[in-house]
Subunit: 454 residues, 2 copies
């Protein structure tokens, strides 16, 4: 018997019992988060009105490398974890590469993406402190669907602001949220001051994650017993997502390999951080030399072409000031199909790691991403989400370099979600009508200059 | 540590190496399949023009209880098998039942349903004998998507006739088929004689599986080097699907239980046979007393209210005559959302087993099925396909009986697919506009009388 093993699962007792908090082990800690008015360094307490308290503590925790996962959360993780680590024999063959390509298949979660990994703990901690309502924003709807599901599990009411362009492009995700009892509003909406301000100035505004965040934050701040939740960007979200990389580490060991390169698509950072940080730990502590590549859309290139600045996390300027790579919080990304990547900034931790040269970034044109996604679908049978297509495109670039140089590198990428709800985007791609959106240097410079003036 | 285990997986080496052929062990063999003109018993050779030869041999094999799965097929199964066996703690809690409910989650296949289990072998055997083109029909699109995928894997061209009402209700499935390079035509179409005959008489005909089969068969018979494939009803399809039950048997052993009741939804029989036959074997040989329940839609109740007759498998009468429970091949099922169950007849093996009292059937109204599916989604986090909702409804009926009687029965059902592509159906349900379709006795009697006249 000499069978090639394709998928690696962990037994339930090996599902992580701790999240990995890279903040405690980074060579340089992130710069502080500031109050926009006083410019003073914020503390967890300052965020209590907005988020569940435990999440605020996690956000600022720079001392504990391992944070215990409460058992009720682990019980919920068992509904879909461990997710499989898959050897992509089909893709390797299609490319004719000597590289060994693996992917962590987060698309098998019931909501179709990795987002549930943080939705469950966020809903749990809200419930624990007696909150009754949660609110959030969502782009493509992966996060909103996951929060709606987690809220239902813990008996919370959920209100979701969905970026309007995605609300229209992906009507099924709205229906999924409604199946779990959530109330869904396209953003910008007339239901908030932030939304009204934008709509009265730009009635056809397609929306952006930055704007939807403003609306959700405003709702949370004006509604009793309601907390805001966020699906990416923040430190505590990245923390929860480390279950991906922690599982992958054990599964790669089962496969007898260790990744030379780890790749994930990049919107605010949640799935990238999730798969990368547990491996990056060994670069920091054990002198490993793994490369970490964030694959962002060319239409929203904050890591490759943005600037490191203090900026708001949302469009209206309701959030604290975050030290991050940004295109400016007023940047409106083009209407690409990767709704989950249409965000102007990178999380605080990632921004510091990027500055310190611990990771890299590439940008991918929309059509290259769908070329890659279609090749992957035909080789591996899984239709990837438009967001994940960016990770696949970056993986293919590296695998083809290996082919050119005859290198047998081990590449691991995160398949953050499936694209079954995104078929309208594939239709557009197959029709030949899909276009690429280049951001001009002038536009970026103008946005950053605006920022520097404020 | 006293953790409740939720999901059971098999290691790859435990993925079945043989399919289980119940024909060899049935107490009464099925009645013969007949040539409609001569009324003579058909042999495998008679079907060679239509199907791959190996499939024809499997169709008629009444002697070998175990049929070896070729290694290339097993390699493809590894892309998604084993599928998890899941203990539905959430559903049990929601119902307050002492029953232990398990489900086999076939929805994790890359195409979202169990259909790939037979699409892969059918494409493989076609390729092996040098066929270049395959054709088929599909209802909701689960089978068509799976065949498109399998055809792509083995380098075949695929043409799919999709029942028009489903083509319109579920546009994403068409896009999925196209992603894998298949050509998709709504049925009835003007591209075949069978389609033309129907459309000229009934221009707004919504289509049915029976009609789509006629069109695909006609295409296969008139196209060089093209074979027909079928996603249900036939013996060889049920054979391939036994990987479901064979895995479940090992997984139930891991859980330390054995099912008192096995339940699956019923269209032509493929997922029902797949999960049932390996367990039914122990009723036949080892005196087990498991009950097997086929859950069919009230709008298409061939097992509960149809008659056992020789009938055609398709609307136009191109197929051989099959001994089966049927509503008559001219029966047009109402436009329910469970497109995969809109078929007038039951497979030959199931029909014999039903006649011999080895299994039971129940019929489920459309709204009851969505009540059940929504309850399940909220309890287990997985949105079930409208077809699978019927199995869940039947499971809930049994679990509530257990509650009434204080019985701790073990119920296993097959979650044949997820409903992420069927959200428009859920929208309809949530809107309150969904209606039930009762078939009158007169309509059934009239159809059967027509049959008896022919």
């Amino acid at each position: 018997m000499n069978e090639k093993i394709k998928r690696y699962f962990l037994p339930e007792e090996e599902i992580p019992r701790f999240w990995y908090n890279i903040q405690a082990e980074m060579p340089n800690k992130p710069e502080p988060i500031l109050d926009p008015k006083t410019k003073k360094r914020l503390t967890p307490k300052d965020l209590y009105p907005l988020f569940a308290r435990e999440l605020c503590e996690q956000e600022f925790n720079q001392t504990d490398a391992w944070i215990k996962i409460p058992e009720p959360i682990r019980e919920m993780y068992k509904y879909y974890r461990s997710t499989p680590l898959v050897r992509a024999f089909g893709l390797e063959k299609a490319l004719g590469t000597p590289a060994h390509i693996y992917f962590k298949n987060e698309s098998v979660s019931p909501m179709g993406s990795h987002k549930l990994n943080s939705a469950i703990p966020q809903a749990y901690y809200c419930k624990e402190e007696g909150v009754t309502n949660v609110t959030t924003e969502t782009g493509a709807g992966q996060w909103g669907a996951s929060l709606a599901y987690a809220a239902k599990l813990f008996g919370l009411e959920a209100a979701v602001y969905q970026v309007r362009i995605s609300y229209e492009q992906k009507p099924y995700r709205k229906s999924i949220m409604q199946t779990f009892g959530a109330q869904v509003t396209p953003s910008p909406s007339m239901s908030t001051r932030a939304g009204k301000n934008i709509l009265t100035a730009h009635p056809n505004h397609p929306g952006s994650l930055g704007t939807a965040i403003s609306e959700a934050v405003e709702l949370a701040m004006t509604t009793p017993n309601c907390k805001y939740t966020l699906g990416s960007v923040l430190n505590h979200v990245s923390l929860h997502q480390t279950v991906i990389g922690l599982e992958a580490e054990k599964q790669m060991k089962m496969a007898g390999e260790y990744p030379d390169i780890v790749i994930a698509c990049f919107g605010g950072g949640s799935n990238f951080c999730g798969i990368s940080f547990p491996f990056m730990r060994h670069n920091i502590k054990d002198n490993r030399k793994t490369r970490f590549i964030a694959a962002e859309p060319a239409s929203c290139p904050k890591l490759t072409r943005g600037k490191f600045r203090y900026d708001f996390g949302d469009e209206a300027g309701y959030t604290p000031l975050l030290p991050m790579y940004t295109l400016g919080h007023n940047f409106t990304p083009a209407n690409t199909h990767a709704g989950g990547l249409r965000y102007h900034g990178a999380g605080v931790i990632v921004s510091q790691l990027m500055k310190d040269g611990l990771m890299e970034a590439v940008d991918i044109e929309q059509t290259e991403s769908f070329d890659a996604g279609t090749l992957f679908a035909r080789a591996e049978g899984i239709i990837p989400a438009p967001e994940s297509c960016h990770a696949i495109a970056a993986t293919i670039r590296e695998a083809l370099k290996c082919k050119e140089n005859g290198e047998e590198k081990v590449i691991l990428f995160n398949l953050s979600g499936h694209g079954l709800i995104d078929m309208a985007s594939y239709d557009k791609y197959f029709s030949g009508d899909m276009i690429n959106y280049a951001v001009s240097d002038e536009e970026i410079d103008r946005n950053i200059a605006n920022l520097d003036k404020q």
